[in-house]
C-alpha cells in the first residue's frame, strides 16, 4: 500500500494525519491485507449470497401520532455557533 493512496483516502474522509501516522498505517495495512487474503482462500466464496442482517427485519410503520419534538434550545446548545435559531457557518456563496 503506497502512502499516496492512504493520503487520498484520508482526504476523502476529511482529516489529515502526520507522516509518522502514515508510516504506522502502512505497516498495519501490510497485516490487514494479509488477513484479508484469508477471505479469498475460501473455495467458491464469490458464489455465496452476502448476509447483511442476520435476523429478518419486519419493517412496521409507526402510528401517526402527534409526539413531542426535540427542544430547539437543547439542540442548539451543542452547536459551536448559532444565529437566529440556526447553526451558523461561514458564508459559502460570496
Amino acid at each position: 500500500m503506497d502512502k499516496e493512496t492512504l493520503k487520498v483516502l484520508a482526504n476523502k474522509l476529511m482529516f489529515t494525519m502526520n507522516e509518522n501516522e502514515y508510516d504506522t498505517l502502512q505497516e498495519e495495512f501490510d497485516t490487514i491485507l494479509k488477513q484479508m487474503d484469508l477471505i479469498g482462500k475460501i473455495k467458491d466464496i464469490d458464489t455465496v449470497e452476502p448476509l447483511i442482517y442476520t435476523i429478518p427485519v419486519n419493517v412496521s410503520m409507526r402510528e401517526d401520532n402527534v409526539c413531542e419534538e426535540l427542544d430547539l434550545d437543547d439542540i442548539l446548545v451543542n452547536s459551536g455557533d448559532t444565529l437566529y435559531n440556526q447553526v451558523k457557518v461561514p458564508k459559502v456563496v460570496e
Binding site: L25, I42, L51, I55, G80
Partner: protein, 477 residues
C-alpha cells in the same frame, strides 16, 4: 456492593436506603478514578424514584456511548468531548423508569472501536486485578466498575466481543442477548449490523434480572424484536440434564505449546467435566480452518466499513467540538483532524479502502459472504446442540506493552471467535471460570438466536458448580 437480589432485600427490610447506596457507590467511583479510571462522568445528584421494580434504588453505570438527555456523553472521543444529548436512549429510559440509580458514565475505547481500553480521550482504564494489565474493551469502564464492586451492574455495548472479552479479563459476567432483544435507539452506532447492548454483572441471575427490565420491542428501532413475554429469571434454575454443548476443535489447537494457553485449555477441560456433572454432554466439532481464519478479517472489513459511514456525521458543525477555518469544509477537516485519535483515523481509512468501488466485491461483499457461511454453519449446529462453549480468550488480560502476532491462528481464531455471536446475532455470555497466573479467565457460552433463556439457564447452572460468583477484584482497597 452486593448482588442485585441481596441489595433488594436490604432495601426492602430497611437495612439500607437508596440514598446511602448512592453515596457509597459514588464515593467508591470517585476513589477508583485515580488508579483505574473507569468513569468519564460521575453523577453529583441523588434523585429518588421509587417504582416497585426490583431495580428501584439500585446503583448502576452506563457506557458513555449511550444517549442520556442533559448528561455529557462523549463516546470517549475528543470530537464529542462537549456533547450533551437531547434525548434518552431507550435502555436508559427503561432503567430510569425502573428507578435504577445512574452513578456514572463509563470510559470506552474511542467510539467503541478497539479492544484494549486504552484509547478513550480521558485516559486508559486499568484492570482491577492488576493495574499493569488491560481490562480489555471497548466496554472497559463498565467492566472495571463491576469488577471493583462499585455497582452491581453496568451497561455495555458489544460489536465484536466488547462486553464478553472484558468480562473475562475482569472476572465478571458479561451478557449480550440476541440482536434486537434490547433496543439500540440512542446507542451511538459503530457497526449497525453487529452492534448489541448488554450487561455486566457479578452473577448470572443479575444479568437475567437486568435483561428482563431492558428488553423489548421499540418503535424507535426497527431491528428490535418482539418481547415474547419471556421471563429470563424464572427459567434460570431449570435442570440442564440432557443439554448438548459443543466446542470448536480447530480453535483449541495449541501447536506452539504456549504455556499460558495450556493452562486455559486445562481450565476448559475442568469446565467440561463440570458440564458433564450437570448431565450435559460436550462434543468436539470440526469447522473448516479456512472459514475460521476468515472470521476476524471479515469482522474488520464489515465493522470498519460500517463505522466509516456511521461516523461521517461527526463534523463538529451541528454538534461536537467545532474546528477552525474560513469555510465549512475547512471547519470539518480541522474538527475531524483534531477530534479523532490516530487509531480511529486508521480504522476509518481501512473502512474507506474496503468501500472503494474497486475493492467492494473482493473485500466488502466477500466479508458478508463469510458471515453467511459461518451463520449457516452455526444455525445447522444449533439444530443438534443447545450451545457453543469455548474459552473466552487465549490468555489472561494482556500487559499494556504486550503485542500479539496478528497473523497467528491463536490470534485469528481463539482470541476472536466471539465475533460469531455478532455475525449471527446470537445470545452469548461470558462467566468467570477460574484463574491463571492470579488473573481471572472466563468461559463463553453462545446459543441460537432468541434462545436467551437457554443460554442464561446453562450459564447459571454452570456458575453454581464453581466458586467465582459475586467475586470482587482483589486490588480494590
Amino acid at each position: 456492593m452486593k448482588s442485585i437480589t441481596d441489595i433488594r432485600n436490604d432495601l426492602d427490610s430497611n437495612k439500607i436506603t437508596s440514598k446511602e447506596l448512592f453515596d457509597e457507590s459514588r464515593k467508591m467511583a470517585i476513589d477508583s478514578q485515580k488508579e483505574y479510571n473507569p468513569f468519564v462522568t460521575i453523577m453529583d445528584n441523588y434523585e429518588e424514584i421509587s417504582t416497585g421494580s426490583i431495580l428501584s434504588g439500585i446503583p448502576y453505570a452506563l457506557k458513555d456511548n449511550i444517549s442520556t438527555k442533559g448528561i455529557l456523553t462523549t463516546a470517549s472521543s475528543n470530537i464529542l468531548s462537549n456533547y450533551v444529548p437531547v434525548y434518552d436512549a431507550t435502555i436508559y429510559k427503561k432503567l430510569k423508569e425502573a428507578g435504577a440509580l445512574l452513578i456514572g458514565k463509563t470510559v470506552l475505547d474511542e467510539l467503541a472501536m478497539g479492544g484494549t481500553g486504552t484509547t478513550g480521550h480521558t485516559g486508559i482504564v486499568r484492570n482491577p486485578w492488576d493495574r499493569t494489565r488491560q481490562i480489555g474493551g471497548s466496554s472497559a469502564g463498565s467492566a472495571a466498575a463491576v469488577a471493583l464492586g462499585i455497582v452491581p451492574f453496568a451497561i455495555g455495548s458489544d460489536t465484536g466481543d466488547s462486553i464478553r472479552k472484558p468480562a473475562a479479563y475482569g472476572g465478571v459476567v458479561g451478557f449480550k442477548p440476541t440482536y434486537g432483544r434490547i433496543s439500540r435507539y440512542g446507542l451511538f452506532a459503530f457497526a449497525s449490523s453487529l452492534d448489541h447492548l448488554g450487561v455486566f454483572t457479578r452473577n448470572v441471575r443479575d444479568a437475567a434480572i437486568v435483561t428482563n427490565i431492558v428488553k423489548g420491542q421499540d418503535s424507535h428501532d426497527m431491528t428490535s424484536l418482539p418481547d415474547d413475554n419471556l421471563d429470563y429469571v424464572s427459567t434460570l434454575d431449570n435442570s440442564v440434564k440432557g443439554k448438548k454443548l459443543f466446542y470448536i476443535k480447530e480453535a483449541l489447537d495449541n501447536n506452539n505449546n504456549d504455556p499460558e494457553l495450556n493452562k486455559i485449555i486445562e481450565n476448559f477441560n475442568e469446565v467440561k467435566k463440570k458440564c458433564e456433572s450437570l448431565g450435559m454432554t460436550v462434543s468436539e466439532v470440526s469447522i473448516s480452518r479456512e472459514l475460521l481464519l476468515a472470521l476476524y478479517p471479515s469482522y474488520m472489513a464489515i465493522s470498519c466499513a460500517e463505522a466509516t459511514s456511521n461516523d461521517s456525521n461527526l463534523t463538529g458543525i451541528h454538534f461536537g467540538v467545532r474546528g477552525e477555518g474560513k469555510t465549512p469544509d475547512e471547519i470539518i477537516r480541522d474538527a475531524r483532524t483534531k477530534g479523532f485519535s490516530e487509531l480511529i483515523k486508521r480504522r476509518f481509512i481501512i473502512g474507506s479502502y474496503i468501500l472503494q468501488r474497486e475493492n467492494q466485491e473482493k473485500l466488502f461483499l466477500n466479508a458478508y459472504r463469510v458471515r453467511r457461511l459461518i451463520v449457516d454453519k452455526m444455525n445447522e449446529l444449533f439444530k443438534d446442540y443447545d450451545g457453543l462453549i469455548m474459552p473466552a480468550a487465549s490468555g489472561i488480560a494482556p500487559k499494556f506493552e504486550d503485542k500479539s502476532d496478528k497473523l497467528s491462528d491463536k490470534y485469528l481464531i481463539l482470541d476472536n471467535h466471539m465475533v460469531i455471536g455478532n455475525f449471527g446475532g446470537y445470545p452469548s455470555i461470558t462467566i468467570p471460570s477460574g484463574f491463571v497466573n492470579s488473573m481471572p479467565i472466563g468461559i463463553n457460552i453462545t446459543g441460537m438466536t432468541k434462545k436467551d433463556d437457554v443460554v442464561l439457564n446453562i450459564a447459571n447452572m454452570l456458575e453454581s458448580t464453581m466458586e467465582y460468583k459475586n467475586q470482587i477484584a482483589k486490588e480494590m482497597k
